[in-house]
């Protein structure tokens, strides 16, 4: 994005807020603060990009993924890299799938419903107005009528359906499930983002996960961040935060970050930590902050993200089109469930390297079987889920003795799918296998996988059991807020980013209502 003309602050300026991370957690609140007149600086570990730079190539796109090494442990070790965390001005939204379901109200109160999981300290009514604001601002495309929430309206008509979506619609029709166009943060027609920026309609190029080259897909660098910059926010790319300075009372007075190999110190009145489900707890553990509850790094969750693949006689060409243009929420509470929670089903297209690596890791093919199956790429399609993952004391993030290039200890992420996840996976696998059989797929196989990084800095009402309160404010440090998927008390069955953005605006409003402590500008 264009940063040439932005306002700049000196390290000695006591800015009103430093925001760490420019993804779905950091960008909306940065923009809200800037429009409210606060003097704000965002520190982003990754570089700044212009959309035209993204290649239609999975290997060459690796610059937008978080490639700092993480150690994966547990019975179902997590794949990171191109999956999960991102880097660059815009954070993970540079590579996210832009799938935008809202949380199901029941998912926020899973413990009350099933004595499983964890209730959120807020309800759907608290989120709904923020969902609406976010959807309107970023331009979410969706159906006229959303069958599972008929009063919901999306600002843009649906994106085009590709082959996997057509097949999933047919499968749902055949076995008697409802399905509709997915809520998708991709402009289905030209979308006026601001008076001087129109985001063009999606051209079905299929490379959402490698960075949208035209800005049709919502990412923070084409939505909230330009707004923030227009209102005086400064964004500093390639600035890796690794420490904090505090005063005698414990308040943070400066953020330490490395830029161009040199440590710098940005003075500030408040800090909003928005590094995501891994980097946020890692930074807190590395600096020893905000952890009187002992909950930092705890309850790591990853959505059950089972996929069922099939081969079709006619070509599917699964690289084409927005990858997951169809949704059904019929399995959010399946009648025959032997598990807590539920899942969303979406149609799935995919690009070939990602697909081939899934085939290797998830299907276990090698040798002639592998090479022959790869040649069927143009005939494959999948349906996949995003399903509830219960928090567990056995799943957590801790620090390794190994350090990264700036001396911060690496994260070890321990994750073992539990009984509830296994049952949910089995249920989904069976249902989706039935769907694909209903439309004549052959060579059907199930990929067991997990996605998203959730939990690790739980929000709650009890400071003994949670890291932040329901506004995202640290119980321990009065001028520290956290906003990203780390604060989710439960995973929800919805993909996290829309809810992160809604929480970001909610945190911002809460902070502004409180009457932020403002510094007297030392130089303007």
């Amino acid at each position: 994005m264009i940063l040439d003309e932005m306002k700049r602050y000196a390290n000695d300026d006591v800015v009103d807020a430093v925001v760490i991370g420019t993804g779905a957690g950091g960008a909306p609140l940065l923009a809200r603060f800037a429009t409210a007149g606060l003097r704000v600086v965002a520190l982003e570990a990754g570089r700044n990009w212009t959309p035209e730079e993204y290649p239609a190539d999975e290997l060459a796109a690796s610059g937008i993924y978080w490639l700092g090494e993480r150690l994966s442990a547990g019975e179902t070790p997590q794949v990171f890299g191109a999956n999960n965390s991102g880097m660059g001005v815009g954070g993970s939204t540079l590579h996210w799938g832009a799938y935008c379901p809202r949380a199901d109200p029941r998912d926020l109160k899973l413990y009350s419903e099933r004595s499983a999981g964890h209730d959120w300290p807020l309800g759907y009514a608290d989120l709904e107005p923020y969902y609406e604001r976010v959807e309107a601002f970023i331009g979410v495309s969706g159906p006229d009528r959303y069958p599972w929430d008929t009063k919901r309206r999306y600002p843009l008509p649906p994106v085009a359906r590709n082959a996997p979506a057509e097949l999933m619609q047919l499968a749902c029709d055949t076995i008697g499930m409802r399905a509709t166009d997915g809520p998708v943060a991709v402009a289905s027609r030209n979308f006026v983002q601001s008076e001087d920026a129109v985001r063009p309609a999606c051209v079905n190029c299929g490379y959402c996960h490698q960075g949208c080259r035209i800005g049709a897909k919502t990412s923070m660098d084409v939505t909230y961040l330009p707004l923030a910059v227009r209102y005086g926010a400064e964004i500093r790319p390639e600035s890796v935060v690794h420490g904090f300075e505090r005063d005698a009372s414990g308040r943070i007075v400066a953020v330490i970050y490395r830029h161009d190999g040199i440590d710098r110190r940005q003075r500030c009145e408040a800090v909003f930590l928005c590094g995501g489900g891994i980097e946020t707890p890692r930074l807190l553990l590395n600096t020893g902050l905000a952890n009187s509850s002992g909950q930092v790094g705890r309850n790591y969750m990853a959505h059950v993200a089972t996929q069922v693949w099939g081969t079709f006689e006619r070509e599917t060409r699964p690289n084409k089109g927005y990858p997951s243009s169809l949704i059904t929420e019929d399995a959010v509470r399946p009648a025959d469930a032997d598990f807590a929670g539920g899942y969303l089903i979406q149609s799935l297209g995919i690009v070939p390297v990602t697909w081939a690596q899934q085939v290797v890791r998830g299907r276990g093919l090698w040798g002639r079987d592998l090479v022959d199956y790869l040649e069927r790429y143009n005939h494959t399609a999948a349906v996949g889920i995003n399903g509830e993952c219960l928090p567990s004391p056995e799943n957590f993030l801790e620090l390794s003795d190994e350090t990264d290039e700036i001396g911060a200890r690496k994260a070890i992420v321990r994750f073992s799918a539990g009984e509830n996840e296994r049952r949910l996976h089995d249920h989904a696998s069976k249902l989706m296998t039935d769907m694909w059989q209903a439309v004549g797929a052959t060579d059907i196989w199930t990929l067991q996988r997990y996605a998203h990084t959730i939990g690790t800095c739980r929000m709650g009402s009890d400071r003994e059991k949670a890291v932040v309160d329901d506004s995202g404010r640290s119980f321990d440090i009065e001028n520290l807020w956290i906003c990203d998927n780390s604060i989710f008390p439960s995973s929800l069955s919805a993909n996290p980013a829309l809810t992160i953005m809604a929480l970001s605006l909610r945190t911002a409003e809460s902070y502004l209502r409180r009457g932020p402590r403002r510094s007297n500008p030392t130089h303007e």
Binding site: E52, E53, Y54, P55, A56, D57, E58, L59, A60, S62, Y65, G68, E69, R70, L71, S72, P77, V79, F80, G81, A82, S85, A160, R161, N162, A163, E166, P200, V203, N204, C205, G206, Y207, R213, I214, F312, R314, E315, T316, R317, N319, K320, V351, P352, V353, A356, Q357, V360, R361, W366, G367, R368, L370, V371, L374, E375, R376, Y377, N378, S400
Partner: protein
């Protein structure tokens, strides 16, 4: 696409009949008689330059938009000479997009046993019976024992109807002409095919003498075949030619305006052929040899795809550009590779008395199956040995190695061509981007490449 075909010494245009039949609708095959052979037995001009001129005239008379050139044995040397003229800008030869040499006589003097040469120079000068026996000997010496009887008979008939002067001219001078400087290095995408059992112009000679003349060479060996490949293995030859056409087409797609410069740069960097004997930069020679043996089992490559995946993994390791995570049970990536490969060699030595790379295919597969299943035990009395991975670590490493290999394999443009992958061409530079319009089930844009497994082959 027109494919012009040039035959071997003593052959004729009709040696391509079976290949042409199998190339179906993809090509119009135009098989030519070189001067002195087949129906052109009365034509003169037997030097390489004269033959190249004759062929140039015939091609330009056809005035093809896009064409490929295939040369078998003697025909390959002529084909290279024609390609040189095309690359030098001869307008009559515009539109050459690919070249295929089959058991080709190289641009340099052809390696030939001098006794054989002397003997053959004396052939076809006696009575018909003797000539026939000599023709039979010529064909049987150059083809495997399973050559179809009718084709063998046709080849004998071709040898008997050639102009003996052309035969003598090639043996005495054409085969000895040194065109290596004149041909230099051709840019036209080439497929170099060798018969595994060819005595003088087999795989080694082709790699040594032909491949260096092509900047973009792909190499294929046809197993259990000798020198008369279009007659011995017409199906394999046809398939390789069709695949080469698809790969040439894919490279043209990469060069087209549908592909962005950034994408093109990434793909072209990957297209560069691997040196046949890539030295290890990270793992060391021995470990790289073991890794090649492992990866050969994981991704058995098609005869004409020879991407040195192991060397590419090795280079990736030296860069230290990890993929953002690793199994906590494994040491850092490079160490994991090194120790895993040492473990594999140690286990192979314990069982079979040799390194893993020295095992036959069956034993390699069986050991890797144990690795895959997590039951290749490398402990003694339950104690891990130093510098060994245990069974579960090996299993985890093998998953990583397979994922690395398949990533590099699929990302290679020749593999993407094989898959019929269109995603690279989702819109070039500048606005608006073309993207895709026909995205529904069973829909295809007219320009989209087609998977080899879907094509008429």
């Amino acid at each position: 696409m027109i494919l012009f075909c040039l035959h071997y010494l003593g052959g004729s245009a009709r040696e391509w009949a079976q290949v042409a039949e199998r190339l179906g609708e993809r090509f119009r095959v135009v098989s030519l008689d070189l001067p002195g052979f087949g129906d052109a037995s009365e034509s003169r001009g037997y030097s390489v330059a004269q033959m190249a001129e004759t062929i140039t005239s015939i091609i330009s008379a056809e005035a093809p938009d896009r064409w490929m050139l295939a040369g078998h044995s003697m025909g390959a040397k002529v084909a290279a000479a024609v390609a040189r003229r095309a690359e030098d800008g001869e307008r009559r030869l515009d539109g050459l997009v690919g070249i295929v040499t089959i058991a080709g006589s190289p641009p340099s003097p052809e390696p030939m046993n001098e006794e054989d040469r002397e003997k053959m120079l004396g052939w076809f000068s006696g009575d018909p019976e003797t000539s026939r026996a000599q023709a039979k000997e010529y064909v049987s010496k150059n083809a495997g024992p399973d050559l179809h009887e009718d084709r063998a008979e046709a080849a004998v008939a071709d040898a008997l109807r050639m102009n003996r002067a052309a035969w003598i001219a090639w043996l005495e001078s054409g085969s000895r002409e040194d065109w290596s400087d004149r041909i230099g290095v051709l840019k036209t995408p080439a497929l170099v095919i060798a018969g595994a059992d060819d005595e003088n112009l087999g795989p080694d000679a082709q790699r040594r003498l032909t491949v260096p003349h092509f900047a973009n060479a792909r190499f294929a060996t046809i197993e259990a075949a000798k020198h008369l490949l279009p007659l011995e293995r017409p199906q394999a030859v046809a398939r390789l030619i069709a695949e080469h056409e698809a790969i040439v087409g894919y490279r043209a797609l990469i060069a087209s305006a549908r592909v962005s410069q950034g994408t093109r740069d990434a793909l072209e960097a990957r297209t560069k052929a691997d040196e046949p004997d890539n030295e290890s930069t990270t793992l060391g020679t021995k470990a790289l040899r073991t890794l090649r043996a492992v990866i050969d089992c994981v991704i058995p490559q098609h005869d004409a795809v020879t991407i040195d995946l192991a060397a590419r993994i090795d280079r990736q390791l030296v860069l230290g550009t990890g993929d953002g995570w690793r199994f906590a049970d494994l040491p850092a990536d490079t160490d994991a590779y090194r120790i895993a490969l040492e473990t594999l060699d140690a286990a192979s030595n314990e069982r079979f008395g040799c390194d893993f790379a020295a095992l036959d295919a069956e034993r390699r597969a069986s050991m890797l199956t144990e690795v895959y299943d997590g039951r290749l035990e490398t402990t003694i009395d339950g104690e891990s040995l130093p510098n060994r991975l245990d069974a579960s670590q090996l299993r985890a490493w093998f998953e990583d190695a397979r994922a690395d290999a398949v990533k590099l394999y699929v990302a290679h443009p020749d593999t993407l061509a094989r898959l019929g992958y269109s995603g690279i061409a989702n819109g070039g530079d500048g606005m608006p981007k073309s993207g895709f319009v026909r995205i529904g089930f069973g829909e295809r844009e007219p320009w989209e490449p087609i998977a080899f497994s879907d094509g008429p082959r």
